[in-house]
Symmetry: C2
Subunit: 264 residues, 2 copies
C-alpha cells in the first residue's frame, strides 16, 4: 500500500476516531459508575460499544481487511491489511474522571503498522502517525525533544504496579532511579503522544498487548522518537509486552542499557 | 464573616481563578520547557506570575487581609481573614502536558477555611466549596458517592513516591493494599475535586503544605466527604502534612484504622 493509497484508510480512521471519541465522551461526561463489577460495568459497556461501532465501519468500507480488537475475537488475522483497535486505553483513568485515556487505531500492512491514531477526546487531542511522514497533533506537525541525559529525563509509566515483581521490576527501577526527576504516572496512551510532542522523554511500560502499542509506533517514529521492546528489538505481533519509547535516540540507547539488567 | 458576607470574597475568588487559569493555560499551551533548571524554569515563572497577580488582586480589594502563598513571604498572617494560595498545584503534570493541575484559593476566618476553590483550567472544571453550603462543579451541586468497603474503594495519591520510607510508607501501603482496585496516581488537587464529585473514594497523601490542602476542605466537606490528618484530626495551620480524604464517612473510619499502623 503506497503512501498515496493510505488516503482512504486515513479518512476512515479519522471517522472512526470521531465516533469513538463521541461515544467515550458520552459515558465520561455522564459519569461511569465504577462501583459495578467489571464483568458488566459501564466501562466495559463503553468499550464494547466503541469496538462494535469501529468494527462495523471497517467491515463496511474494507470487508476484506482483518481486525484485532481488545474485546472481541479476531477477524481475518492473516489478511495483508489488519486493523488493530483499543476502544478505550486507560480505563482506570476513564472511570476515575481523569482525562488521560484514549482510543487507539492502527492499520498494519503485513504486520507492520503504517498508520496509527492516538485520540484523547477529553483532552481534545488527536495524534496521527503515518509511516514516512511527520506525526501531527490536531493537524500540526510535532516532534520529540532532545534530551540525551538520563539524569534529566522525564520518565513516565501508566502505573508503578504494572511491572512484575522480581527481575522485571528491578530493571524498571534501574532505569527510573537513573533520573533525578520524579516520575509521572497514569498517562496511558496519551503519554506516548506527549512524548511525540516533546513534553516527555521516556515512556517505559510492561504488560502491553498489541492493541496497546501498534498505534503508537507510527506516532512516535513520525515524531522522531524510538520505540522498541526492552531488548531494543522492533515491536511485532510476537513481542513480549515490554515497551520502551524515547524521544531522543541517544537517550534510548542509554535507557536500554539500564533495562538490560547488566551492571552499567 | 456570615455566609451572606462571603459574597464579596467569593466574587473576588472567582475573578482570581479566572486570571490564574488564563495565565496557566498560556504557559501550558505554549509548552513549558521543563528541561530548564528548576530555579528559573518556566514552571516557576508561571507560578510566580500567577501568585503575584492574585496577591495584587487581594491587596486592592481587601488590603487588611493576610496572604499565605507558596512562592512569596506571608503577609499579615495573624489577620482574622487570611487567603491561602497555591498558584499551580501539580507542577510535574503541568510541565509534562498532563491536564491534572490546578490553582488553589482558600479564605480562612480565624484559621478555619470558609471558602475554597479548586480550578483546573485544562479540564475546564472549577469546584467551589463554601462552609455550610453544597459544593458546586461549574455551578452545579455535586456530592460524594457511597462506598463503605475498603475492598471496593478507588484510592488515589499524587505519587507513590510522596511517602517517607519507613513507617509512613508502611501505613500508606497498609491502606492501599486493602483495596482490590489498582490505585491511580497523578491527580493532584483535581483528585479531591473528583472525590467531591463522586468519581473516587479515597485520596491519601503526605508531605502537603497548608497551601496544598486549605482550599480542599470546604470543597470536600460541602460535597459530603471527610478530610482529616492520618489521626482523624481536623487539618489546621499546624498539621503535619499527612492528609486523608474520603467520600464516605464509614469508609473514612476504616481507612484511618488502616493508617493507624495497628493490626486490624
Amino acid at each position: 500500500m503506497s503512501i498515496a493509497s493510505l488516503n482512504e484508510p486515513l479518512n476512515l480512521a479519522r471517522d472512526m476516531a470521531d465516533r469513538a471519541g463521541s461515544i467515550a465522551m458520552r459515558y465520561f461526561s455522564a459519569g461511569v459508575d465504577s462501583t459495578q463489577k467489571s464483568d458488566n460495568s459501564p466501562v466495559t459497556v463503553a468499550d464494547l460499544e466503541i469496538e462494535t461501532t469501529l468494527r462495523n465501519m471497517i467491515a463496511e468500507r474494507f470487508p476484506e481487511h482483518g481486525i484485532l480488537g481488545e474485546e472481541y475475537e479476531s477477524k481475518n488475522p492473516d489478511a495483508r491489511y489488519v486493523w488493530v483497535l483499543d476502544p478505550i486505553d486507560g480505563t482506570h483513568c476513564f472511570a476515575a474522571g481523569f482525562p488521560l485515556f484514549g482510543s487507539l487505531i492502527a492499520l498494519l500492512d503485513e504486520g507492520r503498522p503504517v498508520l496509527g491514531i492516538i485520540d484523547a477526546p477529553a483532552m481534545d487531542k488527536r495524534w496521527i502517525g503515518i509511516v514516512g511522514q511527520s506525526t501531527t497533533l490536531n493537524g500540526e506537525p510535532v516532534h520529540t525533544r532532545s534530551c540525551a541525559s538520563l539524569d534529566e529525563a522525564w520518565i513516565t509509566s501508566s502505573s508503578p504496579f504494572m511491572f512484575e515483581a522480581g527481575s522485571q521490576r528491578q530493571r524498571y527501577e534501574n532505569l527510573q532511579t537513573s533520573s533525578s526527576r520524579r516520575p509521572v504516572f497514569s498517562g496511558n496512551c496519551v503519554a506516548y503522544g506527549l512524548l511525540a510532542s516533546g513534553k516527555l522523554d521516556i515512556v517505559c511500560e510492561a504488560d502491553l498487548g498489541v492493541h496497546d502499542f501498534m498505534a503508537l509506533i507510527p506516532v512516535i517514529e513520525g515524531g522522531g522518537g524510538s520505540v522498541t521492546d526492552w531488548q531494543g528489538a522492533p515491536l511485532t505481533m510476537q513481542s513480549d509486552g515490554l515497551v520502551l519509547a524515547s524521544g531522543d535516540k541517544t537517550l534510548h540507547s542509554k535507557a536500554l542499557e539500564r533495562l538490560s539488567g547488566q551492571p552499567i
